[in-house]
Amino acid sequence: MGDAGDSAKQEKKVVFVTVGTTLFDALVRAVDTNGVKQELLRKGYTHLVIQMGRGSYNPTKCDGEDGSLAVDYFTFSPSIADHLRSASLVISHAGKLLFIFDIWCILTINLVIVVLHCGLFRSGSIFETLQLGKPLIVVVNEDLMDNHQSELAEELAERKHLYCAHPQTLHQTISDMNVESLLPYLSGDATPVAKLINTFLGFPDD
């Protein structure tokens, strides 16, 4: 992975789409449209890898040799961490995801590649991935009732840490996005909470 001598590989820019363990055919269908694929190609991405989970809609595979976007997909993979590491942009669902442990691993072994883009959504994992410094598009699943997760996505989008899209507007979001304008997300700090708890319990301040 990432051999310096191989210039062809260096130019490989992967878009990783993940729906986690949920079923989100609307997102898979949306990225499989010509509009979205053309837009991604225009933005300089060369590969599209889709993790489609329990969905039933199979996108069309393509090897990309004719200069079009190379498309590949799989349902689940134990090595999702590898896909994340090599991805330049990740388009994710805003539901639940079960691969947090993999992302946790990337963080603990410090294999963070800052140039790449990524995103998995679940309040815990979105921050873990944002902290990898990978640009991220979060796609909101409108089929879920009381989707309070979109609250967070919208707030973070307002603060320019990520892009928030709907399956129908994904095409527009990709064409309008400027990855450079995203602001890095600074890790949170638990010191204020700890301070308040300690003071409340009568422990001396230090």
Binding site: I100, G124, S187, G188, A190, A194, I197, N198, G202, F203
Partner: protein
């Protein structure tokens, strides 16, 4: 005969009513007294002793947030012994707590207080029918009560979701009955930007949480008794 019977009744009823009314009044007064005392900080003693602490781990993101808080909080040997509780179906959370405790143990140069890892029944699994959930909720409550009687924590740390509510309510009842005075801290999840979660709302409205923390300023403006502490993730 009938008259006499009536007389007996009238002799008894007022006293029963008086007893019940006064019992209820005492209970209400006690609850109000506890509610008034609840939000107040403990006064520092000359040498504050470590406090037994119950840490309720939610799941996934909730656990990750709690671990972040504990990473700072456990730097000093103030929360001892520690009891970690997670839902019976959630193995990941306790694994993460184990990992954290190992780090704390190493940081403290190999000495550490006693730590216990416990699992609790969940009142309702995702997708479980409402009829069977009456039974499981009852079972979960009994189990929570049993755990709380055994632990009797002085500090309860929780950040949702639902698992922590029965434990917090029992902690509050312990204060009312006088079994154990405890301080309950609730940190609302970072995912809640504009509205509190149901567990958060309950603990806030019923004033069961002694201190209530939120991670977004707009939420603090809506719930003025909460403390804004910035993002934890």
């Amino acid at each position: 005969m009938e008259n006499q019977h009536d007389d007996n009744c009238s002799l008894f009823t007022p006293s029963i009513i008086t007893v019940t009314v006064s019992a209820v009044l005492i209970a209400i007064t006690r609850v109000f007294y506890i509610l008034c005392q609840s939000g107040k900080p403990l006064y520092p003693s000359k040498s504050p002793k470590p406090l037994s602490t119950l840490i309720v781990l939610g799941s996934g993101g909730h656990t990750a947030e709690m671990i972040n808080v504990l990473n700072v909080l456990l730097l000093k040997d103030r929360f001892c012994p520690r009891f970690y509780v997670a839902a019976g179906t959630d193995n990941m959370s306790l694994q993460k707590a184990h990992l954290l405790e190992e780090n704390v143990f190493n940081l403290n140069g190999g000495k550490g207080g006693s730590t216990q890892f416990l699992q609790i029944y969940r009142s309702r699994e995702v997708g479980q029918s409402y009829i069977t959930s009456i039974g499981t909720t009852f079972l979960a409550l009994v189990h929570a009560l049993w755990l709380m009687i055994r632990i009797r924590p002085q500090v309860v740390l929780c950040n949702g979701p639902g698992t922590c509510v029965p434990l917090c309510v029992i902690a509050f009842l312990f204060k009312v009955v006088g079994v154990r005075w405890s301080s309950v801290f609730y940190v609302e999840s970072i995912a809640r930007v504009r509205k509190l979660s149901l567990s958060g709302l309950l603990l806030y409205k019923l004033r069961i949480a002694d201190q209530f923390f939120v991670q977004w300023p707009q939420l603090q403006r809506k719930y003025p008794r909460a403390h804004y502490v910035g993002c934890l993730m």
